[in-house]
Structures are given as structure tokens and as C-alpha cells.
């Protein structure tokens, strides 16, 4: 049994045995997921930006012989409004029947976090407040009186520093105490609204309690919702608890009377809602003032100074571009060596495999198909994909942990608003530079479903790691090749930047077009927290980003590369009347390719390169050299020679670069899009958008070239 299977078995067993269920709630960005990970040992990525957990994540752990199931619910500021995450969060706390609900709060902005805590005190008694980021608070000279907070709320309060696993011991103890306590002895904190409102709430609660056997606290909460006329929440309650709160004659009658009475006192339904919200916020403020001591009033000064530079009119965007360029540069240069190492390692294994195949008298066609077809493509994809991703993602995660990403969204929001989208789309594009599949998954951070879909559909318009080296090679050979020296690298960099900028512009244009056509809508509200800067945890960053992103993506890529290797090999080796299938397809595609200023082989290579963009160039070389397996060439000059011999001109090079940026997403990304949108229709559209863009753009450049140059 492999390690993984063992783990899965264990988890399954735990699942069956787990005695207690715990919900983990909190504002976004308070370290909920870090606590979750440290308790369960699961690798759920945590981000220093909002809205990471979109669905409930479940994990298991054992403490002193008892099994616990812990559910990480989406981070929300409130559970009163209607966004998707808030509903998931609220429904779980209300109806998931957890034995305890832990609300994680940020010690550095306790007051705002208490808002959510107080809202949850209205639903459940089994509450634990976990004050996280005490280390950050200490640095900012904020002192929090945990004991006083516990006394006021009448619930256990635990202070932790989630990054430090040891500090979680207290939390574990408290969880155990709360779970094992059979009944709530003392009533916990209760919010007191305006006298008149309290009277109305009590009247409705009485009638609900009379009709249904519901715990008093929950009945009180429901009566607030009844008075508030919150249809969505009420509908959910009705569905989950099989009761009727709306169109219930008795309740309606009491509700109407209560609202009339309030109206006479000058409180209309509109204000009722506001009074409820502001009472909670004011209570939170009051409690916050009592328990927090700010020894340094200007604790945010350092952050503001950094912000002033990172978001300034003059430097904001240039710094962002510099950061990204630096990351790409480190990635590309750094990935070279491990890639070469993997290549030669896999190459040596390949030789041994061939020897072995001969030794067991394996038929040649079979061993060729398996080794030169499947094995070679598979290892190729691993060699070229693994190192850049293993470098890019940790670097990107460091930016993320620092808290820089929301600043990028802030800087770029103006442009995206014009395209009727959200500035957060820029963050997903930045992730797309690393891997479009990750970028697509990252689109979860966008709240509005319409804007999220646009971001998913356009993500492929920014080139990923797999396409960069190809772009650079072509630019070096054809655009800078004529110059040589340092000038060459500058010019090729500019050329590559050029197509990337074109990609970004096209993203905005297409987003705008989508917003005006099939995904009509106005930009939704944009409210984004710019969290305090935090020191990244380098080691964890490394481990986490390699495990959650790199390995995951690689797994998907490998799943596609193996069959694709077979197909490529078959195409190159099966022939009709002396012509390989590859040539036949290339000839078929030639007319279209010529219109686009390319040739049939190039288009065929892009199509066969669908498992990973990295193998497009090897396929092109294989075609030109009449080979029957992928061709690896290190020497840029030699590659240039072959390409030129096969009729490549500067126009071919430009069009290949354009088509590299604008063509269908790779198979991994397509699979991810299908998973995220749960729709083949949108997956097909995401395939068509960049492809059509590419074909049109290439035809345009070809036309312009022929009119003006030749």
C-alpha cells in the first residue's frame, strides 16, 4: 500500500469515528487556514488576501483519543448579507450542527473582527474565540486583554500565533472542553437592541417558540430575520428545519403588529435593518475599546509609507512591472539548470529502457511507441514544466504572503473598471503568467460570478511559463539575431514584453467585449481590503507552493502528456502512401496557415502541443527534420538554421510569437476551466476566444506585411 493510500484509508477511518465536529469561522485573511492546516496537517493554501476558501474544506485530527472533524468555512466579514461565501458560512454555523464554532479573529484589528463574533453569538452558544496574530499585534504594540474579553463575551477566548504550532495547544484544550461539556451552563453574551426593537423581537420569538420546538437563542435570531424580511435567509431556515416562517398566518399577524408598533415609534423597516447592524458594530466597538490598548497610535505608519510608494501614480505600475519581470527572469534563468539535469537523467533512463526492451526481445514498434512515444513526451513535459513552476510559485507566493497582491489589484482596478471588470482580475493574470491553470483556479477570489467568468475566459491571453522560453527563443533568433551582443538581449526582451503587453491589452478589450455581449453587466462593487504587510514564512512558502500548486498541476499535465505522447508518435510514424499522418495534416492545414503567415507544420505542432505548450517547438523541429520523435536542441543558433531552411522569415517569427500568446489553452487549463465553470459551453468558449484572436491577429500582420513590405 502506498503512503497516499494509507493516508486516505486513515482519513476514511477517522471520518467514521470522529466524535466531534468543529466549524472554523472568521474574517478573511486572519489566518484561519493556517490554523486549519496546523491542526489537520492538510495543505490548504493560505493567502494574505481575501476570499481564498470558497467552499467548505474539511479536515480531521485526533486529540487525546478523540477524533475531531474540522470544517474550514469561507472567511467573511459578516454572515448577514447575501454573497455566496456568506451564505455557505452562515448555513454551516446554523444548520451544520457543529459541536463548537471557533471564530478566528485578527488581534491587529480586533474591533472589526468582533462584529462577526457578535453576529455568531446570536446563533450559537458553543463558541470559542481564537485571537490570532498576537505576534503581529505585539509588533504594533497592541495589547489585548484576553481574560476581559472572555469575561465580557462569556465564552472561552484563546490567544494564539497560528504560525507557531506550539501555541495551538491551548486551543486544542479549549476545543476539548467545549466539545465534552454536555450543556451550556451560563448564557453567553447577548446583544441588546433598542428597547422598542427588543419588544418587537420578543413578541415574534414567542410566537415562533409557541409553534415550533426551537432553542430560544435560535428562535430569537429567526425573529430578527422575520422582522427584517430577509427572504433568502428565511427560505433557507424553512428548508433546513422544515418549518414555516413566511406565509404563516400567526407569525405574519404578530410581525405586522410589531412592525406597526415600531412605525409608531418612528422606526420603519428600512431603519430596523440599519439599527440592527449598527447596534452590533457599536457593541463591537465598545468591547474593542475595553480590551485593546494601543500603545502606539500610529502603528500603521510603516505600512502607509510603503503603500504610498507601491501605489503611487509615478512608481506604482512601474514597480509592479519590475517585480513581475524580476520573477520571470529568476524563473527562466534558474529553471535552465534543473531542466537540463532532468533531461539528461531521463535520457539516461531512456537508454537503459531501450537496452532492456532489446534484451527482452520486445517488438521494435512496441518499444518505440512506449519509449520514444509515451515515455519521452512524458518526461519531456516533466523536465520542462517542473523546474520553472517550482521556482515561479514560491516566488509568487512570497509576493502573496507579503500582502502585495491586493495592491496590484488596487493599482490596476481603474483599467479593469473601464472593461466592466474587477481589479482582482489582474491578480489572476499574474498567476496566469506562472500557469494559466493556476490563474483560472485563482479566479475564485473574484466575488461577482460574471466577472469571475470573464477572468476565467480571458486568463489564457497572458502567456504562462511554458510559453515564455519559446517566445524568448524565437525573439532571440529572428528579432535580435541580426544585431548580436547586448543589444540583442535588450531587443528580444522588448519583443517579448511587446507580445505580453499585447496580451494584457487584448485581455481588457475582450473583457469589455464580453461585458457588452454574452456576459452583459455593469462592474459590481469593488471593496477590497488592503491587509497589513506581513513577513512571509519562507520555508512554508516553499513547501506549500510546491505541494499545492506545482505537484497538482504537474499531475494534471502528466495525465494528458502520456496519451498525447502516444498520439504524436503515431502521427509521426503511421503513414499512407509514404507520407506520415503528420505531413498529411500539415498539408491540409497549409492554406489556412499560409493566410496566417505560418506553415502547416507549425499549426500541427500547436495542435499536437495541446498537452503542454512546452513541446510545441520540439514538435516543429521533429517535423522539419523528418524525425519520428521529439527533438531537443540546446543550440539556439542551430535551431535558427533549421527554421530558416524551412522558410521562416521575420514575419513567420512575429506570427508564431503572436500565436503562442493567442491560441487555445493547454489541456490542463481546459480541464481546470471545465472544473471551475462546470460547463462544457464555457470551456469551448475559452478555447475559441484566444484562438480566434490569434488567427485574426496573424492574418492582419500578414496582410499588413504583404501590403507594406513585400
Amino acid at each position: 500500500m502506498s503512503e497516499k493510500e494509507k493516508l486516505a484509508m486513515e482519513q476514511k477511518e477517522t471520518k467514521q469515528k470522529s466524535t466531534y465536529t468543529i466549524a472554523l469561522a472568521g474574517n478573511p485573511n486572519v489566518g484561519k487556514s493556517t490554523i486549519f492546516n496546523n491542526l489537520t496537517g492538510m495543505n490548504q493554501h493560505t493567502g494574505n488576501w481575501t476570499g481564498k476558501t470558497v467552499a467548505n474544506a474539511t479536515g480531521y485530527f485526533e486529540y487525546r483519543g478523540e477524533q475531531y472533524k474540522i470544517v474550514d468555512i469561507p472567511g467573511t466579514y459578516s454572515i448577514m448579507s447575501h454573497s455566496e461565501e456568506e451564505e455557505i458560512a452562515r448555513n454551516y454555523i446554523c444548520f451544520g450542527n457543529p459541536d463548537a464554532t471557533i471564530v478566528v479573529v485578527d488581534a491587529t484589528s480586533l474591533e472589526r473582527n468582533l462584529n462577526l463574533v457578535l453576529q455568531i453569538t446570536e446563533i450559537t452558544n458553543n463558541l470559542i474565540v481564537c485571537v490570532n496574530l498576537l505576534d503581529e499585534a505585539k509588533k504594533k504594540k497592541i495589547k489585548i486583554n484576553l481574560e476581559l474579553l472572555s469575561n465580557i463575551l462569556k465564552v472561552p477566548v484563546v490567544g494564539v500565533t497560528a504560525r507557531n504550532k506550539k501555541t495551538l495547544n491551548n486551543l486544542l484544550k479549549v476545543i476539548r472542553n467545549v466539545c465534552e461539556r454536555k450543556e451550556q451552563i451560563n448564557p453567553i453574551y447577548q446583544i441588546h437592541y433598542d428597547e422598542k426593537i427588543e419588544k418587537a423581537i420578543e413578541e415574534v420569538r414567542e410566537i415562533i417558540s409557541k409553534q415550533y420546538k426551537i432553542e430560544e437563542k435560535l428562535a430569537r435570531w429567526m425573529s430578527i430575520k422575520v422582522l427584517d424580511g430577509e427572504e433568502r435567509i428565511l427560505k433557507e431556515i424553512e428548508k433546513q428545519l422544515h418549518i414555516q416562517l413566511m406565509n404563516n398566518r400567526e407569525i405574519d399577524k404578530v410581525k405586522k403588529e410589531a412592525l406597526e408598533a415600531l412605525k409608531e415609534e418612528g422606526i420603519y423597516q428600512e431603519e430596523f435593518k440599519e439599527k440592527i447592524v449598527s447596534t452590533i458594530v457599536k457593541d463591537a466597538e465598545e468591547i474593542g475599546k475595553k480590551v485593546c490598548k494601543f500603545e502606539n497610535k500610529d502603528y500603521a505608519n510603516r505600512d502607509r509609507k510603503i503603500d504610498k510608494i507601491l501605489t503611487s501614480k509615478k512608481y506604482g505600475i512601474p514597480i509592479m512591472i519590475l517585480f513581475l519581470l524580476l520573477i520571470f527572469w529568476i524563473t527562466i534563468v534558474g529553471a535552465n539548470y534543473p531542466s537540463q539535469f532532468l533531461f539528461s537523467l531521463f535520457g539516461k533512463i531512456q537508454e537503459k529502457l531501450i537496452e532492456f526492451a532489446t534484451y527482452i526481445h520486445c517488438p521494435e514498434w512496441l518499444s518505440n511507441m512506449l519509449i520514444l512515444g509515451i515515455y519521452q513526451t512524458l518526461t519531456w513535459v516533466i523536465s520542462v514544466m517542473l523546474p520553472p513552476m517550482a521556482i515561479f510559485f514560491p516566488l509568487f507566493t512570497i509576493l502573496e504572503d507579503l500582502g502585495y497582491l491586493p495592491r496590484i489589484a488596487f493599482n490596476m482596478d481603474g483599467f479593469f473598471k473601464k472593461a466592466c471588470c474587477s481589479g482582482k482580475q489582474m491578480i489572476t493574470m499574474c498567476m496566469g503568467f506562472g500557469c494559466n491553470s493556476c490563474g483560472v483556479t485563482g479566479c475564485r477570489i473574484i466575488d461577482s460570478p460574471r466577472e469571475r467568468l470573464i477572468a476565467i475566459l480571458t486568463n489564457n491571453l497572458v502567456p504562462c511559463n511554458g510559453r515564455f522560453p519559446f517566445l524568448i527563443t524565437i525573439a532571440t533568433i529572428f528579432i535580435a539575431g541580426t544585431i548580436g551582443g547586448i543589444g540583442a538581449s535588450v531587443i528580444s526582451t522588448i519583443a517579448v514584453m511587446g507580445v505580453i503587453i499585447l496580451g494584457i491589452i487584448m485581455t481588457l478589450v475582450i473583457s469589455k467585449i464580453l461585458s457588452k455581449t454574452i456576459l452583459k453587466g455593469m462592474p459590481s462593487s469593488f471593496v477590497l481590503e488592503l491587509p497589513p504587510y506581513r513577513k512571509p514564512q519562507f520555508f512554508k512558502v516553499l513547501v506549500r507552493s510546491i505541494f499545492d500548486r506545482t505537484i497538482f498541476i504537474l499531475g494534471r499535465a502528466v495525465a494528458v502528456a502520456a496519451p498525447a505522447g502516444l498520439v504524436i508518435w503515431l502521427f509521426a510514424n503511421i503513414g499512407i502512401q509514404g507520407q506520415s499522418l503528420l505531413t498529411i495534416i500539415a498539408n491540409f492545414l497549409n492554406p489556412l496557415a499560409n493566410l496566417m503567415g505560418l506553415d502547416g507544420y507549425i499549426l500541427t505542432a500547436f495542435i499536437l502541443g495541446i498537452p503542454a505548450n512546452e513541446i510545441v517547438l520540439p514538435i516543429i523541429l521533429m517535423c522539419y527534420m523528418q524525425g519520428t520523435s521529439l527533438v531537443n536542441m540546446e543550440d539556439t543558433f542551430a535551431i535558427g538554421e533549421i527554421l530558416r531552411q524551412n522558410g521562416w522569415t521575420i514575419l513567420t517569427a512575429i506570427n508564431v510569437m503572436i500565436f503562442t500568446v493567442f491560441h487555445f489553452p493547454c489541456a490542463t487549463t481546459l480541464l481546470t476551466i471545465k472544473k471551475e465553470t462546470e460547463s462544457w459551453k464555457w470551456t469551448a468558449i475559452s478555447f475559441l476566444i484566444p484562438t480566434v484572436c490569434g488567427i485574426v491577429l496573424c492574418m492582419l500582420t500578414t496582410l499588413v506585411y504583404h501590403v507594406f513590405v513585400i
Binding site: 448579507s81 484589528s109 505600512d303 501605489t311 506604482g316 491586493p406 488596487f410 471593496v527 481590503e529
Partner: protein, 75 residues
């Protein structure tokens, strides 16, 4: 409705929230962040393109677009 909104505040100038108006979703969202009557709010950052701006209130820094900030009326 000619009340002053946070959009009219200069960078670094503190205003006191009077009322949140406008459409339910955004109103709720702003209220949830703690923007109730009497809250101090201070614009501290402007995005390079001039919009959105980031406001400091209740110890957090929140970026809000002009259209949405229009709903935050001041005293």
C-alpha cells in the same frame, strides 16, 4: 441629496460617517465593514489611475471605488 460624501474628502482629511445610502448589496457590504453613523473615515491612498481610493477606518484599510464611495454620506 446634496450631502457631502467621502469622495469629497482630501487625502488625509478625516470625515465622520452620517449614513450609507444606495442599493442594498453595497450598502450592506459597507455597513458590515463597520461604516455606521459616527465612524471616522480617512482616505489615505489613491490608485495610480485616480480611482479607487483606499480608506482607513476602524483599523483597516479598504479600497472602494468612486461609484460605491458615493454612497457614504458624511456629517
Amino acid at each position: 441629496m446634496n450631502e457631502k460624501t467621502v469622495n469629497e474628502l482630501e487625502l488625509g482629511e478625516i470625515g465622520i460617517v452620517n449614513k450609507i445610502v444606495g442599493e442594498e448589496t453595497i450598502k450592506r457590504r459597507l455597513l458590515d465593514l463597520g461604516l455606521i453613523e459616527g465612524t471616522d473615515i480617512k482616505p489615505v491612498l489613491v490608485s495610480p489611475s485616480g480611482d479607487p481610493r483606499a480608506f482607513e477606518f476602524r483599523g483597516s484599510l479598504i479600497a472602494i471605488r468612486k461609484e460605491d464611495a458615493e454612497n457614504i454620506k458624511l456629517k
